[in-house]
């Protein structure tokens, strides 16, 4: 019996070690390959140049256009996902009968399980033409449609985590509010949402990093034209799309073109790493406050 316990313990430890090692492996490869890149291209050029044309004869290595594409599409996504996600969370938590909540939550989570390639073609062949009927100047490839569709994709992430946060608000606060003659609506917006704000913020940050890392939808529907703009109607490119474009093309290993993907990857990693850390910090700082 004790031997078995020991084996299980070792196995569990091994699993933990593997995942930590993987993470470090990824960081190591990103850093080492990117360091080769930065021997040729200065960090200043990388961070300030407004063009990204590593595959052209006239090469420029400014990450800003890709960064703008990533921020723009994720920004649109969050603008869509936050109001819907939060409304759903409040509805499920405050208004919906318990039974409905049990059914709706897993159903919503299916949204997150749809293959992203399906979302991509949905954006390209349905949302874009639809938007063009109201916005004729919209290009066939643009930031708007994939942004909206990514927003739909991350709704369950926000609604589910926010609902958990609302659910965790002590019942006593709810009773205090009702006891003062507040309506459900007032209770939700004046007491529950503020009390759950840290959890809601965490859900939003995680949703943003999910959107920033999303590849397929933007690769299919946003076009592949790095462009430093915040105009959602024209084709753009995101960091992830660029990485896919290069790794699937016939760029030779060891060339500067090849190394760009590690530099770009490092930029994306830095960004999501930062977001995740902020959310972790918020969670830690505020979790115990309202017990």
């Amino acid at each position: 019996m004790r031997k078995r316990e020991k084996i299980i313990k070792v196995l569990l430890l091994a699993c933990g070690v593997v995942s930590v090692l993987t993470t470090f492996g990824i960081i190591w490869i990103l850093l080492s390959e990117a360091s080769v890149f930065f021997k040729t291209v200065s960090i200043k050029e990388f961070l300030t140049s407004d063009q990204w044309t590593p595959l052209f004869a006239d090469k420029h290595f400014g990450i800003l256009p890709l960064l703008a594409g990533t921020v723009l599409t994720s920004g649109i996504a969050i603008l869509v996902a936050l109001p819907f996600g939060l409304t759903i969370a409040i509805y499920l938590n405050e208004y919906a009968p318990k039974q409905l909540r049990k059914v709706v939550k897993p159903m919503l989570e299916i949204l997150a399980a749809v293959p992203t390639v399906v979302y991509g073609y949905f954006a390209l062949t349905f949302v874009t033409p639809l938007m063009q009927t109201v916005l004729p100047s919209l290009s066939g490839f643009n930031a708007l449609s994939p942004g909206i569709v990514m927003g739909i994709m991350i709704i369950p992430l926000i609604s589910s985590l926010s609902e958990d946060a609302l659910y965790a608000v002590p019942k006593s606060l709810r009773e205090a509010s009702y006891g003062m003659g507040a309506t459900r609506f007032q209770t939700a917006f004046r007491v529950l949402v503020p009390a759950a704000l840290s959890g809601i913020t965490v859900s939003v940050l995680l949703a943003i990093s999910r959107a920033m890392g999303e590849t397929m939808i933007v690769a299919i529907a946003a076009g592949q034209q790095p462009r430093l703009t915040f105009d959602p109607t024209v084709p753009i490119e995101t960091i992830t799309t660029y990485i896919v474009q290069v790794s699937m093309g016939d760029v030779e290993r060891g060339t500067i073109e090849y190394q760009t993907i590690f530099a770009a990857g490092l930029a994306l990693f830095g960004l999501t790493f930062l977001l995740n850390n902020i959310s972790f910090w918020i969670k830690k700082k505020f979790t115990r406050k309202y017990e």
């Binding site: 606060l173 006891g179 003659g181 406050k289």
Partner: protein, 259 residues
Amino acid sequence: MAEKSKMVEKESLIAENVNVFYGDNHVIKNVSIVMPENSITAFIGPSGCGKSTFLRLYNRMNDYIEGFRKDGSIIFNGKEIYSKDIQLEELRKKIGMVFQKPNPFPKTVYENIVYGLRIQGVKDKALLDEVVESTLKKVFLWGEVKDQLKKSALALSGGQQQRLCIARTLAVEPSILLMDEPTSALDPISTAKLEELVFELKKTLTVVIVTHNMQQAARISDKTAFFYMGELKEFSPTKQMFTNPKEEITQNYITGRFG
């Protein structure tokens, strides 16, 4: 004076043949009781006998509990409070509640007090300021917190928080105040302060207080209701209840033979 007594009569609180069920669990059994106005009524009885449940009938706080069902009537101001056309929000402004554990909102002291007025749409800053000061004075908290109005209410001590919760309830000027073991989470000094406050409050309102502490009931209440297994066993003036109870079971309970 004449006007006052008329008003008091109008705001009577009468329960008649009330039964409560949680699912199949019959927790209040045919209770009828008339609350005397401008006085303090204590609910006592062993744990689980239905004191909280009965108290929470008055402001319909049990409505949120799954499987809750009641019959019989509860009349406030001449109106059945469980009828369809009752405005729940209005009812709760009139019948305020203080809970067992202090439950201030995670907001500032100031925002806690004005919460009830804000949700009624009051925006007049001068009025809000005035209400904050006057209600905090009523609960003897003004001197202690007047320099921390913009600080989080969660930074106050437990006793201060509970008095803040009372102030918050008083700010909307209820005519009845329900208190469910309001001192059970407090130290003896805070408890004494709170009792003094409750005593003061009965000049202007009707107080119903659930307490586990028989000395407390004896100290502050005018009438005492003894609940046992969902039944109202005895309802008498407090003095009489503690010196010469009518029922043997009351006698056994207050002399500490069980409970």
